[in-house]
């Protein structure tokens, strides 16, 4: 039950962290390390892509919540996308969906981000 982590850059100082496999007590430290090294104060948006993640435990949730807190503290955005049903269920059980930006798929997230961009432009 391993975890693959891929980090890619997104527009406007964003980072996408794509996780695949299992995020549990064994693999959560690896994700924490990646987040610590990649997500610094200059990152405006952090996206966690769950497309290929099929298992998430409380250890993994703790890492995710820490990352959200970091982004919140920096007035950044924290987005979750492509959650499989059993993964979404875990968030639902601990009532963690409120206050999280969760998107069913890439299109939904793109729409949101475009919206945000336009709002910023309009505000200038």
């Amino acid at each position: 039950m391993s975890l693959k982590i891929a980090i890619t850059s997104e527009a406007n100082n964003g980072k996408r962290i794509s996780i695949a496999g299992s995020l549990d007590s064994n693999t959560a430290p690896d994700l924490q390390k990646s987040i610590d090294s990649e997500i610094n104060d200059s990152i405006s948006t952090t996206i966690i892509d769950f497309k290929d993640l099929d298992f998430l435990s409380s250890a993994g949730l703790r890492v995710i919540f820490k990352a959200k807190k970091r982004m919140d503290n920096n007035d950044g955005k924290f987005l979750l996308v492509n959650l499989q049903p059993q993964i979404k269920k875990v968030f639902e059980i601990i009532k963690a969906l409120d206050g999280m930006n969760v998107f069913k798929n890439q299109d939904e997230m793109d729409e949101y981000l475009t919206d945000m961009q336009n709002k910023v432009k309009d505000g200038e």
Binding site: N26, F55, S57, S58, P85
Partner: protein, 136 residues
């Protein structure tokens, strides 16, 4: 059909993978719905991590006995360990100041939500913890 199968695992996080693999092989034989399998996999992981985190002090090595019984659309899972008296559903809170693994019992909440019944007994210096899940 009533079937009981068991394995022994070490009280280390690495053996969590062994548990998952065992669960998968047992449940695939009886065609359990995906959601049931996923729920159990998580409940077992959370239980296992709680046991190895709190039933053992001083890094002692031990083996945990894990048994799975299937009977008439019900799956029963029992963890038996020889650690200190520890109930995965309640005693994690005692350590809440020492580390953040407990964190208000996120794991406990998951275990309770994902299974239909949970039972803890202390029998002859052993913790015996049983999870029950019904499926259709």
């Amino acid at each position: 059909m009533n079937q009981a199968n068991k394995i022994l695992i070490r009280n280390t996080t690495e053996d969590g993978a062994k548990l998952s693999a065992f669960l998968q092989s047992q449940l695939s034989a009886i065609k359990v719905p995906d959601e049931t399998y996923n729920d159990l996999r998580l409940a077992i992981e959370e239980t296992f991590i709680n046991i190895i985190s709190y039933a053992y002090t001083n890094n002692e090595e031990d083996t945990i006995f894990f048994e799975l019984t299937t009977n008439n659309n019900q799956i029963r899972i029992t963890f038996t360990d020889a650690g200190i008296a520890f109930n995965p559903l309640t005693d994690c809170d005692k350590n809440i100041d020492e580390d953040d693994k407990c964190e208000g019992g996120m794991g406990i909440h998951l275990i309770k939500s994902l299974t239909d019944a949970q039972e803890y007994k202390r029998i002859e210096q052993r913790n015996v913890f049983t999870l029950t899940k019904n499926y259709t």
